[in-house]
């Protein structure tokens, strides 16, 4: 697989609110000497619409995504839920259209979550990162249950020089984000993220990390509102860090 050009599939939230995560990915690919590109026509994979039931609108986004990405070698994304959308829900959207279904499946096969790509495809574990601090990890739902990605990020974290990895209790319990759920059902969502935060705080870690910016945004938003000191950093940024300092 190595040597093929990576096409960056940058989740809309990362693009607009957390560009540093995408830049971290770029830095890592540069460091690893992996050719990459960013198809600038990309916008959103359609997941918000799909999860809210608006499949016809989501299908428009899906078709567009397929057209933009289908001629790429490898598609890598810093978000488990977006990869899950492409791999698992695109085929559902086109289940009645054999031609589109085949194209969706073909794109799905070459779409990888970032840590999955590094560990499973490139067989990397130590990518020369350094971080002086303790870190705990949140397993996001679609990543761990949908894509079965849980050892890959841990492998990478454990190989970061200077990083002390601490598992939190119930790391794979949902943080309560759930897309528009967080706004439509705020009390439930907040109670869920508070549980998550209790488990994060119990580790005493300096940083909580994960592979999905949407969950991290939820956790960070609540941590800040509560005035907690724990930092929230996407795993790509930890992996891009070669100086060991905390951001």
């Amino acid at each position: 697989m190595a040597g093929e050009k990576v096409s960056l599939f940058i989740q809309c939230l990362v693009d607009s609110m957390f560009p540093e995560t995408a830049e971290a990915m770029v830095a890592i690919f540069q460091r690893l000497d992996i050719p990459f590109d960013y198809p600038t026509q990309q916008t959103c994979c359609g997941q918000p619409a799909f999860n809210s039931g608006y499949r016809r609108d989501a299908a428009v986004a899906a078709k567009r995504f397929i057209e933009i990405f289908e001629n790429e070698d490898i598609i890598v994304c810093p978000s488990g839920s977006c990869v899950h959308m492409v791999r698992h829900h695109y085929p559902e959207l086109f289940s009645d259209d054999p031609e589109m279904l085949a194209r969706a499946q073909a794109v799905g096969k070459k779409t990888f979550e970032f840590t999955q790509y590094l560990v499973d495809e490139l067989h990397l574990a130590d990518i020369g990162a350094e971080f002086n601090g303790s870190v705990t990890y949140h397993d996001s739902c679609h990543l761990t249950r949908g894509l079965n990605i849980n050892s890959q990020p841990r492998t990478l974290l454990r190989h970061i020089n200077g990083l002390e990895f601490i598992e939190m209790k119930n790391s794979d319990t949902c943080c309560g984000f759930g897309g528009t759920f967080a706004m439509g059902y705020p009390d439930i969502s907040t109670a869920m993220v508070d549980d998550k935060i209790e488990n994060i705080l119990a580790t005493g870690a300096d940083v909580v990390t994960g592979c999905d910016i949407s969950c991290l945004m939820n956790i960070q938003g609540r941590l800040k509102r509560r005035g907690e000191k724990v930092e929230v950093i996407h795993i790509a940024e930890l992996l891009a860090n070669t100086s060991g300092g905390q951001s």
Binding site: E23, A49, N51, S52, P186, G221
Partner: protein, 491 residues
């Protein structure tokens, strides 16, 4: 979201979140039974068992008419009576008819979800018949004039202090919070009721067509007395709760007790196949099996939702669900709470009416993993949302939220043109300025967005998006390939 349907999901959820007793009990339920079930599946020696049972459940559903006909024939052979009830009301009418013919004045009940679904207790009471629940949890709920909040553990929202107080109030006992003492009090009361009842009503965990019998699992033993001590036994059965063969039956029951209570088998598994006979002196004089449709045929014929009928009602999905784990059962406002309830309640009782159950989860997938038969409940929730998004004639669904549909239509147009999309982000970046607080976060918004900012900060749109950074910093060396692509896909 909830104003449209008059649903109280959010309000009831809030109440539950504010109850320390409930939160403690739900937390323990999650830790012990939710995670416990996951561990049971991990350690299961026979890793093919769950898929095998799922396959047999789906096969049985595909031939349900034939399997049920065989079940009925075999029950009748043994002297039992079988009645197919189209609706809940049909089942009630039949049961009341049996009660009247037998001059029944008191009914004892085994724990039964379908009896709640069709609301038979109220109908019996209206006919002047006394109804006593004999499952300890259900008995407590009945005494408290409350509603169950879990399909296996109905009074999970109460603790021993609540129950002690209730028993003192209703049964006049000396105040105590000792579980053993309280159980003995209930046992004494219930024994008296069982000895004087004329009819027993139970549900049916699972029937077996090959043998013509129903099975009921329990850990208390009261259900067995309900089926044998009164003169008449009426078993109410959801029409999907049947296996074709005894082999399938055995495995399915095992998965049920493992999923429900981490037990390889429950303390009691009662096989009931008919009235007492010449060589079988135990049991009731009459045995009636009421096989109830009440909306299940419609689910059965829809390939999107048929899978939900494979459910064996173990309740594991409730125990693992992080949403149920916060809001408990009452917020679902249904006989069936939790993830399975969120799927079948709308299907049985109206998708619009229960829109909040379709939308009020995070689709985290924990219920799929814990389900003994791997029912894909998140997929079905998503399918229900699809119906709410645009309306659906077959299920008689009207569009749930017209304003929301316009938002997604606008979103779709925006994301379809990258230039327009980028302009939109720039506009939001300008508009957000007054909202950005001292910590560089947005802390107060209005409307639906307040749902976020009432309890959480929101990061603003970045000074420069990645797309902008890319154009400035990285695009040049890759321009050639970029141009080719733009020619191909530009919109």
């Amino acid at each position: 979201m909830s104003q449209k349907t008059g649903s109280t999901y959010n309000q009831d959820a809030k109440k539950a979140i504010d109850s320390p007793t409930l939160q403690k009990n739900l937390h323990n339920l999650y830790e012990r039974f939710g995670k416990g079930a996951m561990q049971v599946w991990e350690e299961l020696e026979d890793q093919g068992m769950r898929d095998r049972v799922k396959e047999s459940r789906m096969r049985t559903l595909a031939h349900l008419d034939i399997v049920l006909a065989e079940l009925a024939e075999n029950v009748r052979k043994r002297g039992g009576k079988v009645y197919f009830a189209q609706s809940g009301q049909d089942a009630i009418d039949y049961t009341i008819d049996v009660a009247r013919k037998n001059k029944v004045r008191k009914v004892v009940k085994g724990k039964s979800m379908i009896s709640m679904e069709i609301e038979i207790d109220q109908a019996l009471a209206a006919d002047g018949i006394e109804v006593i629940e004999t499952d300890l949890g259900e008995y407590i709920i009945q005494l408290a004039d409350d509603r169950p909040s879990h399909i296996i553990a109905p009074c999970i929202h109460m603790d021993r202090n609540d129950i002690g107080q209730l028993f003192t109030e209703k049964l006049g006992i000396e105040p105590t919070t000792d579980p053993e003492k309280l159980t003995m009090v209930a046992r004494k009361e219930l024994r008296q009721e069982l000895l004087t009842a004329d009819m027993g009503i139970t549900g049916c965990n699972l029937a077996c067509a090959e043998t013509g019998q129903i099975s009921i699992v329990s850990n208390e033993g009261n259900i067995r007395m309900v089926t044998t001590m009164p003169r008449v036994h009426v078993a109410l059965m959801g029409m999907e709760r049947v296996t074709a063969t005894m082999d399938e039956h055995r495995e399915t029951i095992q998965l049920l007790t493992m999923g429900a209570a981490l037990q390889k088998l429950s303390t009691y598994v009662s096989f009931t196949g008919g009235p007492r006979g010449k060589d079988d002196p135990d049991g009731p004089e009459e045995f009636h099996l009421v096989i109830i449709d009440n909306g299940r045929s419609k689910i059965l014929e829809d390939s999107d939702f048929r899978e939900s009928l494979a459910c064996i009602r173990c309740g594991a999905c409730l125990n693992i669900c992080p949403v149920y784990g916060k809001i408990g059962g009452h917020a679902y406002n249904s006989t069936y709470p939790g993830p399975i309830g969120a799927v079948i309640t709308p299907l049985l009782d109206g998708i619009n009416k229960h829109a909040d159950l379709c939308k009020g989860e995070t689709l985290c997938g924990a219920c799929l993993d814990v389900c003994p038969v791997r029912n894909d409940l998140p997929r079905m929730l998503s399918a229900l949302r699809y119906k709410l998004a645009y309306g659906d004639n077959h299920w008689n669904v009207r569009q749930h939220n017209v304003a929301e549909s316009y938002v997604y239509a606008a979103w779709q147009r925006a994301i379809s043109h990258s230039s327009a999309y980028r302009r939109m982000i720039k506009t939001v970046r300008l508009l957000q300025k007054p909202f950005i607080g001292k910590n560089r976060m947005i802390q107060r918004m209005t409307g639906l967005a307040a749902g976020w900012t009432d309890s959480r900060d929101l990061p603003p749109i970045a000074k420069r998006t990645f797309a902008e950074i890319w154009d400035e910093k990285y695009a040049k060396p890759q321009q050639q390939t970029q141009e080719i692509r733009e020619e191909k896909t530009d919109d």
